[in-house]
């Protein structure tokens, strides 16, 4: 469903992503791993349109996304969460979800008529409530997002991303900062999402998490694709081990 073909990105003279190819099917959980600075978040920023690629192409559901502004890409069905949580902190949890649910066609004129607008608003609040209960935040709906606990903020960000009705969900280190029990819960949540027919691409440093949940994993190092395969294959792949742990032989010689 998502296809990146020979995608590259330069920052000045620095090539942070070099001829990267990746194809993601329309269902399943896909992992993107690599040491710090390998270019994983850059891949997300390119897919969502926050950065323009230097060369190469991004195709989603048969359509080229290059050059589209980020909001159009979201409307095509790609949603993401952020490595450093980016909620609207001064707004309530419910409002955070409501912002993302926007039917862009529901224009300003309707809002001027109290009666007509109330119906729109009521149905939106209802679906926002369903999303919040899905991430176990029903009781926190009217609290400011900024006062929620870290784990709750991560779950709220997930609910907000889902509110855009995505077909592909990009999760940037969803388990960062979570304890073992929270990670377990998150894994179950992500598996449930996949079961609803969503395709998920996630960046994660926690290997147990990635290996436990992903059907397939791609590995990046210094902006280059080095391996791809099932968790078992990746775990044993010599290049992956070298990328993470260094090369023993070189040290000996």
């Amino acid at each position: 469903m998502l296809r990146l073909s020979s995608l590259s990105k330069d920052f000045g003279g620095l090539r942070v992503l070099d001829n990267f190819d990746l194809t993601i099917p329309s269902r399943g959980i896909f992992g993107l791993i690599g040491p710090n600075g390998a270019g994983k978040t850059t891949v997300f920023n390119l897919i969502t349109g926050l950065l323009p690629p230097s060369s190469g192409s991004i195709e989603f559901a048969g359509e080229r996304l290059n050059g589209l502004p980020p909001f159009m890409i979201t409307r095509r069905g790609i949603a993401r969460t952020f490595q450093n949580i980016r909620l609207f902190k001064e707004m309530t949890a419910e409002e955070n979800v409501l912002v993302a649910m926007g039917d862009p066609q529901c224009g300003m004129l309707k809002a001027l008529l109290p009666g007509a607008y109330k119906r729109v608003e009521d149905s939106e609040r209802k679906s926002a409530g369903e999303l919040l209960s899905r991430v176990r935040l029903s009781t926190k709906a009217h609290q400011r997002a900024g006062v929620l606990s870290y784990g709750e903020q991560r779950r709220l960000e997930l609910a907000r991303a889902l509110a855009t009705r995505p077909k592909l969900l990009l999760l940037d280190e969803p388990a960062a900062g979570m304890n073992a029990a929270e990670k377990q819960e998150l894994m179950e949540e992500i598996e449930k999402l996949e079961a609803t027919g969503l395709s998920i691409l996630l960046i994660e440093h926690d290997m147990r998490f990635v290996m436990g949940i992903c059907a397939e994993i791609a590995v990046l190092n210094f902006g280059r694709w080095i391996a791809q395969g099932s968790p078992v294959e990746i775990r044993a792949h010599p290049k992956v081990i070298e990328a993470y742990l260094g090369n023993n032989l070189r040290e000996d010689s």
Binding site: T48, L50, P69, P70, F71, T74, R75, A79, R80, F82, R86, L87, F88, K89, E90, M91, E95, L98, V99, A100, G102, P104, C106, M108, A111, L112, P114, Y117, E121, E124, R160, A163, T164
Partner: protein, 283 residues
């Protein structure tokens, strides 16, 4: 009734000016609410005032049409300069819009054949009454209060907090910002057109840097969490010098002092401050 008559004959200009200042405060509220620090509104006010006055003074156009033309003229210019300048943010946008205001002032100053140059335009028919001002303020306030509670208002608040996150929720941030900028300009243009028709006289210096800062002060003092903040800010900035009339030459000093105290104790503006005081549980 006699009391009311004498009040009106003394204070009519003050009451009308309060109304147009509330409109100006609302015009800066729209841009501040979505995080745009624009100080172009004095320039838009000038555009509205001059285009409306030239119509009523030179061609005898009826007031409502002149008012609408004034607002639309300001909006068109805003659309034109908004596309390039809204790429800027923070103080950079403030600098660009400040420069725009000066350009407008200098253009009016030099187009003597049309605008009368530094001497301004005299003998403007006094066509604006209480109804026109109250009607404009009521409509603007109603629209803003409704929108503030709708998804439009929510989106604008979201933009002011995190533009990138808002964009990635599938919302066209640039379009929202441009619309806010243009609506603010239209309101400032309307306020300028209304204002000109009860002051008999306009000149380019009324729309300079000081006016731009005064409008910004209305928005900031009132606060941007609700359109009511603009009503408070606009009224206070108009009323304060009147209330301090007895202070003689110390008036500007005390006026400024009071504004500083308000910002120190209620940095989010008067409206937010009032809400906090009212909500505090009584012992």
């Amino acid at each position: 009734m006699e009391w009311l008559d004498s009040f009106w004959s003394t204070y009519s200009t003050f009451v009308l000016a309060t109304g147009t200042n509330v409109l100006l405060a609302l015009s800066i509220y729209v841009t501040l609410a979505c995080g745009l620090l624009s100080v172009a509104n004095a320039g838009f006010m000038a555009i509205g005032a001059y285009s409306a006055v030239l119509l009523t003074l030179r061609t005898g156009t009826p007031l409502p049409i002149a008012l609408i033309v004034g607002a639309i003229a300001a909006a068109m210019v805003a659309l034109l300069i908004g596309v390039p300048t809204l790429r800027l943010s923070g103080v950079y946008l403030a600098m660009a819009t400040l420069a725009f205001g000066e350009v407008v002032r200098i253009l009016i100053l030099n187009a003597e054949n049309v605008t009368g140059g530094a001497l301004g335009l005299n003998g403007i028919p006094q066509l604006v009454g209480l109804f026109d001002v109250v009607f404009s303020v009521t409509v603007a306030l109603y629209v803003f209060l409704r929108l503030a509670q709708s998804r439009v208002g929510r989106t604008i608040t979201a933009i002011s907090q995190d533009e990138i996150a808002t964009e990635l929720m599938g919302l066209n941030v640039r379009a929202y910002k441009l619309v806010c900028f243009v609506v603010g300009a239209a309101l400032a243009g309307l306020a300028g057109a209304l204002n000109a028709h009860f002051t008999f006289f306009i000149s380019p210096n009324e729309y300079g840097f000081e006016r731009a800062v005064e409008i910004l002060a209305m928005g900031v003092i009132g606060g941007v969490s609700s359109p009511w903040g603009a009503v408070l800010g606009g009224s206070l900035i108009t009323a304060l010098p009147e209330l301090l009339r007895g202070m003689g030459r110390y008036r500007p000093l005390i006026n400024g002092g009071i504004l500083i105290i308000i910002i120190l104790y209620s940095p989010k503006g008067l409206w937010d401050g009032l809400q906090t005081v009212l909500r505090r549980p009584r012992r």
